[in-house]
């Protein structure tokens, strides 16, 4: 098969009828969820709306204005009309800045009297105009990013994706620049432990984070500015990515779009399974965050690789594929085109077993073949990593080979010191040097190789696809909420009304107003 960028990968014969069935089932699974999403909003979505109107700041106490305002609305049961409407109301009361808006909202009675229809209509018209102006400003920033990318050009595929995780954004800048100089195409800034469970986005630069830095607008700005400078110096555009996940998915997506990030980790189900965030909350938030990504041309990276760090990678391979079809359908429904859907998968089969490379190859090639237009992302081994860094380095190199042979779009490079400590500068250097060697050495061989019909790779891929369609049939039958309740994905079970953040899910009123949603939906 020839990929869009010209690379050749071995042909994998798969049953087109089964693939079509998988896509059909993906659509059937997501349809009822979308009906739910379209009848609800969340506190985080409404905070996002305020952020889109420019409410990026925080009060002197450090609480973001967006939270101050939405908390007051939520306490009064007024979120169902939409924060934009109440913003318009506060402006008509004479509020001139975010603090004054917060004060007006805080002074609202329990049951505020309705506005006369003409005034209500005028309010909406005015806010729609404001929203169009704000969206145009955001669009201009995105276009500036794309212009720089076009001017400098990007590196060849697979894009080499490296992690920085020092906990201090200024050290992260140093390490990100060093990685870029050594050949990194994508720099991912790891987020502070447990940010997913914060129901607000912290404010300002992080200099002492645990396990990473907070995803904040200021951290995004600092890193993107440094990478812009480095990209110009290298004559090659270096991408930046972070995490749009947890209880503030869409707010982070806005900060990222505004600060010109290129990609975001964003999964429809990850927060539910691995952070025990309520499923209704996550499924609403993921939709709005993906609408923003679609508007801002941000490629999402999904998190199926995580399933096989909890479940057995070989036994659960089909759950990854099934989830890809679900994630793809959710992404399409949020307006994301294939070129922005970076489905994630990984090289995680226990290296103590036999014949693991054939099975890893089958899986990686299956993903490539099923999603030919997607910037699929391949993750290195982590689960079976231990302290022998020499073995670990060879183990990573094996995943480089599979990534190359199967035409991956983005490859996260493994660290020989995985499971030991944050990557050292030299760990990234060694990983980049080795990946470059593998890509160079295997240059044209992949396209020359043919898989033996009926051989181990073809049979393994067919088995996985057939189990994936079986799982999708079951999930379509019982519904996604119930399927997650039965631990169909990642060996993790979650209840429909369990987990964190359900109290922040609110039915949209008949008078719900969200002028940005109108723009985002119209942009597709």
């Amino acid at each position: 098969m020839r990929l869009a960028d010209g690379r050749l990968v071995p042909d994998l014969r798969i049953d087109a009828g089964v693939v079509a069935r998988c896509r059909e089932l993906g659509e059937r699974i997501t349809a009822p969820v979308l009906e739910f999403v379209e009848r609800h909003t969340t506190v985080s979505i409404e905070r996002s709306v305020l952020r889109l109107f420019g409410f990026h700041g925080a009060s002197s106490g450090g609480v973001p204005f967006a939270n101050l305002i939405v908390d007051e609305l939520h306490a009064r049961g007024l979120v169902g009309r939409g924060a934009a409407w109440w913003l318009g109301w506060a402006l008509r009361q004479g509020a001139r800045d975010p603090l004054q808006v917060a004060e007006r909202i805080a002074a609202l009675p329990r049951h505020p009297p309705p506005l006369p229809p003409a005034e209500d209509e005028a309010l909406r018209t005015e806010l729609r105009r404001e929203a169009r102006a704000a969206a145009a400003e955001l669009r201009a920033r995105v276009e500036a990013r794309d212009a720089l990318k076009a001017e400098l050009g990007v590196g060849p595929l697979p894009h080499k994706y490296l992690i920085v995780a020092s906990g201090n954004i200024h050290d992260d800048v140093e390490q990100g620049r060093a990685a870029a100089q050594a050949g990194a195409d994508v720099v991912a800034v790891i987020r502070s432990t447990a940010q997913s469970l914060l129901d607000y986005v912290p404010h300002g630069a992080t200099t002492e984070g645990y396990g990473g830095t907070y995803a904040t607008q200021e951290n995004f700005r600092i890193m993107r500015e440094a990478l812009d400078a480095e990209s110009r110096k290298l004559g090659r555009y270096v991408h930046l990515t972070n995490y749009s996940s947890g209880l503030c998915m869409s707010e982070i997506a806005i900060a990222a779009a505004w600060e010109r990030l290129d990609m975001l980790l964003n999964d429809a189900m990850y927060g539910i399974l691995f952070r025990d965030i309520n499923m209704k909350r996550t499924l609403c938030d993921q939709h709005f965050s993906r609408r923003i990504c679609a508007f801002a041309g941000i490629a999402i990276n999904t998190g199926e690789d995580n399933y096989i760090t909890t479940a057995d990678a070989d036994e659960a391979a089909h759950t990854v594929i099934a989830s890809h079809f679900v994630n793809e359908s959710f992404a399409h429904r949020a307006g994301l085109p294939d070129r922005l859907i970076g489905l994630g998968h990984s090289f995680e089969i226990d290296p103590a077993r036999e014949d693991t490379i054939a099975r890893e190859l089958a899986q990686a090639l299956l993903v490539r073949t099923l999603f030919p237009g997607a910037p699929i992302k391949y993750m290195p081994p982590t689960k079976h990593k231990q302290g022998d860094i020499f073995f670990s380095h060879v183990y990573d190199a094996m995943s480089d080979v599979v990534a190359w042979l199967t035409g991956q779009h983005i490859q996260l490079l493994g660290m020989m010191t995985e499971a030991m400590h944050n990557p050292f500068l030299m760990d990234r250097y060694e990983a980049l040097k080795t990946a470059s060697y593998v890509y160079r050495a295997w240059r044209s061989l992949g396209g020359d190789l043919q898989l033996r019909p009926g051989g181990v790779v073809e049979r393994r891929a067919a088995e996985t696809l057939s189990r994936a369609v079986g799982l999708l049939e079951e999930v379509a039958e019982e519904g996604l909420f119930q399927a997650i309740g039965k631990a169909r994905f990642g060996d993790v079970a979650r209840a429909e009304d369990g987990g964190k953040g359900l109290e922040g899910v609110v039915p949209r009123g008949e008078d719900y107003f969200n002028p940005f949603l109108e723009i985002l939906e119209g942009a597709v």
């Binding site: 906990g167 620049r177 060093a178 990685a179 100089q181 050594a182 432990t193 447990a194 997913s196 469970l197 002492e208 645990y210 396990g211 691995f274 952070r275 025990d276 760090t309 909890t310 479940a311 057995d312 226990d350 103590a352 689960k383 231990q386 302290g387 499971a419 030991m420 400590h421 944050n422 050292f424 500068l425 030299m426 250097y429 060694e430 060996d491």
Partner: protein
């Protein structure tokens, strides 16, 4: 004579006894060049290595140079003087363990497991607790002898201690993966303090595990045992079973 068999001093073994050869890799924040090479040599000499040789010097980034250096150390350790506490337990098979506990104790052993504080990395606790286990070794949930409950990640210490009290836990298993700025140590101590505050410490064995944990560290933090990388669920199962039986007077010390 040296080595595990007899008394005496031991040194690193490269390709001959007592040659003392070690290999180091590191980055210096200077540009590559002869000056950088000399700086690397002086550094390792200052560490006490002799006959140092720079095997590789490469530009890792602007102003950063990667080195691989070999040298010989004159240092040695007295093997006989090295005494380290280790978790030593006679290992029973899966069936033996279940039979011993159920017949001698007459009830299941209650074990709670969690990844505590802000630590979100459940990989370790899952490997030990989950039915499936790790590397072909069954997890605690699979043992009929254990009532094993995995509370997952990001469990507050106060909540975990309370859960131990309420469940009448015989053992609590804590996994700590994130170790930045010693957050794991503070977190681990906090659980022991909570258990003491609730008066549950004496009846609940406290076990600590994680990639940067060892038995000595766990003891120092007030735990009963520590388990580092490479630990199998059966190691933990056997430690708990033996300790609980011992407390019940069913197993000799």
């Amino acid at each position: 004579m040296t080595g595990a068999g007899g008394a005496g001093l031991v040194r690193p073994y490269g390709d001959r006894r007592d040659d003392g050869v070690v290999q180091l890799s590191f980055v210096l924040p200077v540009p590559a060049g002869e000056r950088a090479r000399e700086a690397a040599l002086r550094l390792v000499r200052a560490m006490g290595l002799e006959g140092a040789e720079v095997a590789a010097m490469e530009r890792a980034a602007e102003g950063y140079t990667f080195f691989v250096v070999y040298g010989r150390t004159g240092a040695a350790v007295d093997w006989d003087a090295v005494q380290v506490p280790e978790v030593v337990v006679r290992k029973r098979s899966f069936d033996e363990l279940n039979a011993a506990v159920l017949s001698q104790l007459g009830r299941r052993i209650v074990v709670l497991g969690a990844c505590t504080g802000s630590d979100a990395h459940a990989v370790g606790i899952d490997a030990i607790m989950n039915m499936k286990g790790y590397a072909g070794d069954y997890g605690l949930e699979r043992y009929p002898a254990f009532d094993a409950r995995n509370l997952g990640a990001q469990v507050e210490n106060a909540r975990l201690a309370r859960a131990c009290l309420e469940a009448g836990a015989d053992a609590v298993l804590v996994s700590q993966v994130v170790t930045q700025r010693d957050v794991h140590k503070d977190n681990a101590r906090a659980l022991v303090e909570e258990l003491e505050r609730l008066g549950a410490r004496s009846r609940t064995l406290a076990l600590l595990g994680g990639p940067r944990i060892d038995h000595a560290l766990a003891l120092a933090l007030g735990f009963d045992a520590g388990f580092g990388p490479g630990t199998r669920p059966s190691d933990v199962a056997n430690f708990i079973a033996a300790a609980v039986l011992r407390r019940a007077g069913k197993e000799p010390r």
